[in-house]
């Protein structure tokens, strides 16, 4: 009805046209100047009058339109005529950043409530499905259903996950579910998240790939992006504040009793620069506490030294003060401290005598075991950190296979040749750094040879540091020396005995190392076992090799790794329990290879060995701290990354409800028109007064003094 009020726009014109000119006749000395002034000002006055008329007409138009309460509809044209049915997909971000605590509660709970509100706002017959975005998309209600109560119930029981989230994959899955539905319906996708930029990363990467590879391979097609309406609730903090331990390095990797563990802790920060207190606990006891000034939106690092660690596995953690996101305030790790490194020496007595004497001088030592060659078929090599093979060739096929497997899974094999076997016997073992080519008798005049470590080459995997005091030049007297053929893959000459003659070679095999000397381990071939540096070299070989197979002190959730790499000496009958107590699924990939498919929970994983009374901690698993970077994305960025044509974002559930209302029912333009009317009224007032305001002319600039003298300024 108020549209009739638009006719009021004609009022200014009519007033102008029908205005009765009530003019008073005023005598004036001469009209000459009035006429000229009117002529000069007429074009300006006409323009000003036109502008005033326009302003007044527009003002009345806007008022008329405002009172008509017009509504701007954003839906398709068909919805003007009939009520549109909808298929709605709700995607809830379940990354752990959603547990961020706001004044009105956790973001996760806000998003769940918003999801419920969206569903409650649907009409009967509208269908809805729900997906949760985690590391992988999780369908909660896979196919769109009209059972709204069931869906709401399912949403209320949802829990937030502990990992990251991939919104792009989940949205793609939800769109696929919507597309499979029949019937011509409006499709809407609601993405309920905290506004963190990270979960949207997939969209951004996909947009880049799409630019390079074309739109055909896009996860979400251009048609979907154009036709479907997307709503995003970015319910998180606008300026999030979070500090967390993001990573940790333990050195040395192989800890022996009596050594201090050095911890390099990285502290991630979202927000402004801040002083953060970091504490280290070992076995439940605080061992260190320090403050660090973190930079804004950056990572800082600080070092701790933990001394006096007893042999064993220690559960440790780094903590930061509790903040709005408590899930990432702890960083768990294990400190594995060993008393000694168990070593196996295989070979005849005369070949191993000096080695055993060097490693276990005096009384018998449990950590060093000497066996005969024949026992290599039966002994479990996984109990030992290093295996010395002294004049053991030829070996049985079983023994060769077991040694090779041992090396590949992280063991260290050190080979000393001897007189027992011919050169062909060495060829059976494929893991040697180089195959022997022959043996050479060294004349006495060339017997003395200086040992020299070769510098590491580029891309050389196996390295060796000769532990010698500064200035010392180790020299050996050689009687016989084995020469080698070409180096195998990943092989390198590590020590030479004068003029580049290989003395010790090494090779990386799988996760382990194989070292081979050109001399025997007894005094028959050289004086090396009698020199002062025999023992340091042997110790260094054991330790360095052992370091290569050290289990990581902590792992990231969702990792998929072989068991042997994470759990030392894993056996088939071992049971690894997750922090919740549930057994960790371990997949047998065959060929005695076991793989942990997914570390689904953060915390300490324990292993119960068959027959052992107490389970021992074996894994420390933390959440992926990428998720702790809470830097929010702007609406413009999201719009650019996603490429959605109809993309509406809200900062809180109320705004989302309003947007949905405006989208479905239309947006009232009354307020807009009233604002315009107000602006027009102000403009009219200003302009009308400006037109009436007397402007300074020449006569006012003239100064006429009392005596009538005129001065023009």
């Amino acid at each position: 009805m108020f549209l009739w009020a638009l006719t009021a726009a004609a009022i200014p014109l009519m007033l102008h046209m029908f205005q009765r000119r009530k003019t008073v006749v005023t005598p004036f000395p001469t009209l000459r100047f009035l006429k000229a002034a009117q002529k000069r000002s007429s074009s300006r006055v006409r323009f000003e009058n036109f502008l005033l008329w326009l302003l007044r007409t527009l003002l009345l138009l806007m008022l008329g339109l405002a009172f008509a309460l017009p509504v701007l509809r954003m839906t398709t044209g068909s919805s003007w005529l009939i009520r549109t049915r909808r298929d709605v997909a709700i995607v809830i971000d379940a990354s752990y950043s959603m547990t961020y605590e706001l004044d009105r509660g956790k973001v996760w709970d806000i998003c769940k409530d918003a999801a419920v509100s969206v569903i409650e706002g649907l009409l009967s017959g509208d269908r809805v499905c729900v997906y949760v975005a985690g590391d992988v998309p999780v369908p909660v209600i896979e196919k769109p259903t009209t059972e709204h109560a069931t869906v709401i119930q399912a949403i209320r029981t949802l829990s937030c996950l502990s990992g990251t989230s991939k919104l792009d994959e989940t949205v793609a899955l939800a769109l696929k579910a919507l597309e499979q539905q029949e019937g011509r319906r409006e499709r809407e996708v609601y993405i309920l998240t905290d506004g963190q930029a990270l979960p949207w990363q997939g969209f951004r990467d996909a947009a880049k790939k799409e630019e390079q590879a074309g739109a055909d391979k896009a996860l979400i097609s251009r048609e979907q992006r154009d036709k479907v309406s997307f709503f995003a609730l970015l319910a998180g903090a606008q300026q999030p504040d979070n500090a967390c331990p993001s990573n940790l390095k333990v050195s040395p990797p192989l800890l022996l009793a009596g050594q201090s563990a050095r911890l390099n802790v990285r502290i991630g920060r979202t927000g402004t620069a801040k002083q953060v207190t970091v504490a280290v606990e070992v076995d439940g006891q605080e061992r260190a506490r320090r403050g660090v000034t973190t930079e804004a939106n950056a990572e800082s690092s600080l070092e701790f030294a933990i001394a006096g660690l007893e042999p064993g596995i220690h559960v440790a953690k780094v903590t930061t003060p509790q903040d709005a996101l408590p899930i990432d305030d702890e960083f768990l790790f294990l400190l594995r401290v060993r008393k000694q490194l168990p070593v196996l020496i295989a070979g005849p007595q005369e070949a191993t005598r000096y080695l055993k004497a060097a490693l276990a001088p005096g009384a018998a030592d449990d950590s060093v075991k000497q066996i005969d060659v024949a026992e290599l078929d039966s002994v479990d090599l996984r109990d030992y950190q290093a295996v010395f093979l002294c004049d053991v060739f030829p070996l049985t096929g079983q023994a060769v296979m077991r040694i090779e497997e041992y090396a590949k899974t992280g063991g260290v094999v050190i080979v000393f040749p001897g007189d027992r076997a011919d050169l062909a016997a060495y060829a059976e073992m494929k893991i040697l750094p180089a195959q022997p080519k022959g043996t050479e008798e060294i004349p006495v005049e060339r017997a003395a040879r200086p040992l020299r470590r070769l510098p590491n080459q580029k891309d050389q995997i196996v390295n060796f540091n000769l532990p010698l005091p500064p200035g010392a030049i180790p020299t050996v007297a050689l009687k016989r020396l084995m020469s080698f053929g070409d180096l195998q893959e990943n092989g390198a000459v590590l020590i030479t005995a004068g003029d580049g003659v290989p003395f010790m070679t090494g090779r990386a095999v799988g996760r382990g190392r194989v070292f081979m000397f050109a001399i025997s381990a007894n005094r028959e071939w050289s004086t090396f076992p009698l020199t002062a540096f025999f023992l340091p070299v042997v110790h260094q070989l054991i330790r360095q090799g052992a370091g290569a197979s050290v289990q990581p002190p902590h792992l990231v959730m969702g990792s998929n790794i072989p068991v042997n790499e994470a759990v030392p000496n894993y056996r088939e009958d071992d049971v690894i329990a997750m922090p919740s107590g549930a057994p960790l699924p371990v997949k047998d990939n065959g060929n005695r290879t076991f793989v942990i498919e997914e570390l689904a929970e953060p915390g300490i994983y324990t292993r119960a060995k068959a027959g052992a009374a107490q389970p021992e901690p074996v894994l420390a698993v933390n959440t992926d701290r990428f998720e702790s970077r809470l830097t929010p994305a702007t609406t413009e960025e999201l719009s650019e990354w996603t490429g959605f044509k109809k993309f509406l974002t809200a900062k809180d559930p109320e705004e989302l409800t309003r947007l949905i209302g405006e989208y479905r029912n239309g947006r009232s333009l009354a307020e807009v028109f009233l604002w315009i009317a107000l602006l027009l009224a102000l403009a009219e007032w200003w302009f009308a007064n400006r037109a009436l305001r007397t402007q300074t002319g020449t006569t006012e600039k003239m100064t006429v003094d009392l005596s009538g003298k005129v001065v023009t300024t």
């Binding site: 003019t23 000002s41 006055v45 007397t694 006012e700 006429v704």
Partner: protein, 301 residues
């Protein structure tokens, strides 16, 4: 107006204010009586002018004997003659002079009062004053007399005139310029709303005849600034023509035009060495005359 003559325009208090003032000419003038104004004639006075050669018939008393002693030549000493001032008041009674705004006097009334005040000052200095009244034509020409009775009579004549319908200022001024035979002071009291170049030519005519000319450009304040708050139908006081206009929308243009009009007169007068003064009718006449004469006196020192 019950009073007649000068009493109709000036009250005793105003006259008392004007008593000690004098209107001095900036140039030499020619009068009929001895006075305090420099005359174009050489004659008897104490102020030496120059020498000239003796001519037979000259009075022997005027021979400069000292020069004769030094040069053996006869020279006559000549002295500056001093005479009285003859002032002609030209009062415009054209139609446009009948305008007044905001309770002020009409411009014609103001011009009459100004003429009375000036005449009074001139007579008080024992000079002579004459008057020309003109509108569409020369209405009255009253000869120069140095008598208050004559001034009174002239003012009575002036009092008998009302503003005319039209104007013919330039022609009349030319006529007056021709009629004043000897150097005198000519005071024009008018709004000068006529053909501007012609008026300037007429003023130039006065100057050509070596008259000392003063122009009192008499205007109403509203005429200057068009300070009217509402639109109206304006009627030309001289032609009767009407036009509807909104002064508020054209005030600036009007003021610019009027400013140019005044400035053109001022420049022309300045070039002709004519004393140009703008008189607003909202100022008291006696105050204006006093200020004007004092400034003129100061400048002539």
């Amino acid at each position: 107006m019950s009073e007649e003559g000068i009493g109709a325009y000036l009250n005793p208090a105003q006259m008392a204010k004007l008593n000690r003032l004098a209107l001095n000419s900036r140039y030499v003038v020619e009068g009929t009586l001895a006075g305090r104004h420099r005359s174009a004639q050489k004659g008897a006075s104490t102020e030496f002018a120059d020498h000239r050669s003796y001519m037979p018939g000259d009075d022997l008393k005027r021979i400069d004997w000292k020069v004769l002693g030094r040069t053996d030549k006869y020279y006559i000493r000549r002295y500056q003659d001093e005479t009285n001032l003859r002032v002609y008041l030209l009062v415009d009674r054209s139609g446009s002079m009948n305008y007044s705004s905001g309770g002020h006097k009409t411009k014609f009334n103001y011009a009459c009062t100004l003429a009375a005040a000036l005449g009074y000052v001139v007579l008080k200095a024992r000079d002579a004053v004459g008057m020309y009244i003109y509108g569409e034509k020369m209405d009255a020409a009253l000869p120069c007399k140095n008598s208050f009775n004559e001034l009174n009579n002239a003012l009575k004549v002036l009092q008998g005139y009302k503003p005319a319908k039209g104007t013919a200022g330039a022609d009349v001024m030319h006529q007056i310029a021709e009629s004043i035979s000897r150097r005198a002071m000519v005071i024009i009291i008018s709004d000068l709303l006529d053909d501007q170049p012609e008026i300037i030519k007429a003023i130039a005519h006065f100057r050509k005849n070596l008259h000392d000319v003063i122009v009192f450009h008499t205007l109403d304040p509203v005429e200057l600034n068009l300070d009217l708050k509402r639109g109206a139908e304006f009627e030309d006081l001289e032609t009767g023509e009407r036009m509807i206009a909104d002064p508020r929308t054209m005030a600036k243009e009007y003021k610019d035009l009027m400013g140019t009009f005044i400035e053109d007169y001022r420049k022309a007068c300045s070039e002709m060495k004519v004393d140009y003064r703008l008189v607003k009718t909202d100022e008291p006449v006696d105050t204006f005359v006093r200020a004007y004469l004092e400034e003129r006196k100061r400048l002539s020192r």
